[in-house]
């Protein structure tokens, strides 16, 4: 039940919320295991023989499992981006005059510490959609570079599920080698190396962490300053806006 004078607005479907929390857990695991894979940060000098400990192997296993979960949620998100029956986010990232205006208005709102608020905060705005799209592009890059590093272990061209699997991975991810090299120094500076893929994969982790830090801050900040219970969206799926405002602005949609 909405508070008197407030209207409840649905913002995230159950599917979207499940994907969100699955991604949160996956990301924590991916970072913890990924840092270990990059440079093992705890020691395993215990008496067990090597075959029982299997610490790196478990870390890599965990990393791959969450990567696969990320693959699945990314495919779902990519589908919903264009074909959702709820809101189709692609409409909000197209550089139309309306979107650019809304994007600027939300950025101005953030920079003026909510002293100016000239946009409709009942629906997902262009600023947020662009921000989430950046996240998913970073994530896609992680998936392609990660699978490229993974396929190095299938050098024979065979796998337990057939030769199509490494062949497909090469087809889909080999372009990340020259692109990584280009990111690290431009076309003319270096030869493309497999190490470039590792380096950009590791850099991208930091960009994702920074992304998350701002994301959490912004959601909390909105909740405090907009006073529309934005933080509840990701749990209950809805936020609350003042009756007069929502009825007024919903008319324009």
């Amino acid at each position: 039940m909405a508070k008197q004078g407030y209207k409840q607005i649905k913002r995230m479907t159950p599917a979207m919320r499940i994907i969100h929390w699955v991604n949160v857990v996956s990301m924590i695991i991916a970072i913890a295991t990924g840092l270990y894979i990059a440079a093992p940060y705890y020691q395993t000098f215990i008496a067990d023989p090597a075959v029982d400990k299997y610490v790196m192997a478990w870390n890599r296993w965990g990393h791959f499992i969450v990567a696969i979960i990320f693959d699945v949620t990314s495919i779902l998100v990519a589908y919903l981006f264009f074909f959702s029956r709820f809101e189709q986010p692609y409409k909000k990232v197209l550089p139309t005059a309306k979107n650019i205006k809304e994007f600027s208005a939300v950025a101005v709102n953030l920079l003026t510490l909510n002293r100016k608020k000239n946009f409709d905060s009942t629906h997902t705005d262009s600023f947020n959609t662009v921000y989430f799209s950046i996240f998913h592009l970073l994530l896609a890059w992680m998936l392609f570079t990660g699978l490229q590093m993974y396929v190095h272990g299938l050098a024979s061209g065979e796998s337990s599920i057939g030769a199509w699997w490494p062949a497909m991975l090469h087809l889909v991810t080999d372009w990340t080698i020259p692109v990584s090299s280009w990111m690290l120094g431009g076309f003319d500076s270096n030869m493309a190396t497999l190490m470039d893929v590792r380096i950009t994969h590791h850099y991208t982790m930091w960009f994702l962490i920074v992304w998350v830090v701002f994301h959490i801050y912004y959601q909390v900040w909105r909740t405090i300053f907009w006073k529309e219970a934005d933080i509840a969206i990701v749990i209950g799926g809805s936020k609350f806006v003042k009756e007069d405002k929502s009825s007024k602005e919903l008319d324009t949609h």
């Binding site: 093992p40 790196m56 272990g153 090469h170 372009w175 076309f187 270096n190 493309a192 190490m195």
Partner: protein, 412 residues
């Protein structure tokens, strides 16, 4: 350096990592077998070129038995990824190697690849075979020098025009119009020297990482603007045998493959023979179990080092390096870097000196930030980024708390 923009864009979508087709099916091998047989028959008609030794005699003189030779032949057949039925052909090809002329030139290098052939604990079959190939010209090994040497090279290039294999050791400096390196009394630049030698070659073999990618001379800041042979020589069959030094077994493999089939072996996207560079070191490493177990050498000489633990934390780059040294090792299987307790430095990969050989895991190594500028580790860069974001957020939060406006006045 090297490639232009258009070529680079094309490369983005056609890049291939090492993929090996180890079994191409019976019809393919049947056809190849007949082709190789005919090729060897043709070679037998030719007289040995300038040959110094007879093969069978020379292995006997070195105290090796014919049985050793056949063991070697079957191992080499396997290395070349040919079916066992090819073993007699490989043995025959080895004897006929003195029919194929080789010219060997050195550019910006340390002669380490030549050393690799020459220095082993005892003459082994690989080395003997490299002794008896028809090496028409090799600056370091030949007695001639000065004008005499140049004349010898010219004669060899003229006499074997279109037939010789050109082995190149060392990078090609392009800076200052190539004048960082000159050769001979005439002061010919390395790049001109290479072009001249490559012109009449049947195929060019770049030996070692310098000749392949520019190697150590091309390491940052690359003052001489050094590049590998493949950036200079175009329009010739080119084979790269990278690694520092290249493994003599792989050199023999390439020559043998050429003798046997008259063609260059199957190559990966970096033009390295797949029979040698189709394997990842990590997957065939004797310390792999310790990697999976999380048992690492923390510092040189510690308990882990004494127990042959994995060298990943002291910078082993086996997981991203493709080469067959974890299988065939060096000096006829005697040992290899990881066997002696030090990590792989990725010497067979491009830019290895800058990107692989820093003896610590990648995330702890100083690498240029994407913006160029100061070298930082990836984690230092990331923590810097995170700190900047944190400071920004703290300022915004503090400012919001002081002068921010809450939409729903009254309540706060």
């Amino acid at each position: 350096m090297g490639t232009n923009k258009e070529e680079s864009v094309k490369k983005l979508f056609t890049a291939e990592s090492a993929k090996i087709d180890t079994n191409r099916g019976e019809p393919y091998y049947d056809e190849l077998f007949i082709k190789c047989q005919n090729r060897l028959e043709d070679l037998k008609q030719l007289k040995p070129l300038n040959n110094r030794m007879d093969f069978t005699q020379s292995i006997e003189e070195q105290g090796l038995e014919r049985r050793d030779f056949f063991k070697w032949a079957s191992a080499t057949t396997a290395m070349l990824m040919l079916p066992a039925s090819f073993t007699p052909l490989v043995a025959e090809a080895a004897v006929l190697m003195n029919r194929v002329p080789v010219i060997w030139v050195e550019l910006s290098d340390c002669a380490g690849n030549s050393e690799a052939l020459l220095r082993s604990d005892g003459p082994q079959i690989d080395e003997i075979i490299l002794d008896i190939i028809s090496l028409e010209f090799h600056e370091t090994l030949q007695a001639a020098s000065g004008h005499q040497a140049e004349k010898q090279m010219e004669e060899a290039m003229e006499h074997f025009k279109g037939k010789y294999l050109l082995f190149v050791e060392g990078a090609v400096p392009l800076g200052m119009d190539g004048n960082f390196g000159t050769i001979g009394a005439g002061g010919e630049t390395f790049v001109d020297h290479l072009h001249r030698a490559a012109e009449g070659a049947a195929a060019v073999v770049a030996v070692g990482s310098c000749a392949t990618y520019g190697g150590i001379p091309a390491a940052a800041p690359n003052p001489t603007d050094a590049v590998g042979v493949m950036d200079v020589v175009k329009g010739k069959p080119l084979i790269n045998i990278s690694a520092c030094p290249a493994n003599p077994s792989n050199m023999v493999g390439v020559i043998l493959h050429y003798v046997l089939t008259g063609a260059v072996p199957e190559l990966d996207s970096l033009l390295r023979p797949k029979f040698a560079f189709g394997y990842r070191i990590h997957d065939n490493c004797e310390r792999r179990a310790h990697f999976d177990a999380g048992e690492y050498v923390e510092e040189w000489g510690d308990e882990g080092a004494k127990n042959n633990f994995c060298l990943y934390k002291v910078g082993c780059k086996g997981p991203m390096t493709f080469n067959n040294c974890s299988i065939i090792r060096y000096n006829e299987g005697v040992n290899w870097p990881i066997g002696v307790g030090r990590g792989c430095i990725g010497c067979s990969e491009p830019d290895f000196w800058d990107k692989y050989a820093y003896e610590r895991p990648m995330s702890n190594a100083n690498i240029k930030a994407p913006t160029g500028g100061v070298e930082k580790t990836v984690d230092e860069f990331g923590l810097g980024l995170l700190t900047a974001a944190g400071v920004g957020i703290a300022i915004h939060a503090a400012a919001s708390a002081v002068v921010g406006k809450k939409e729903d006045g009254g309540e706060a």
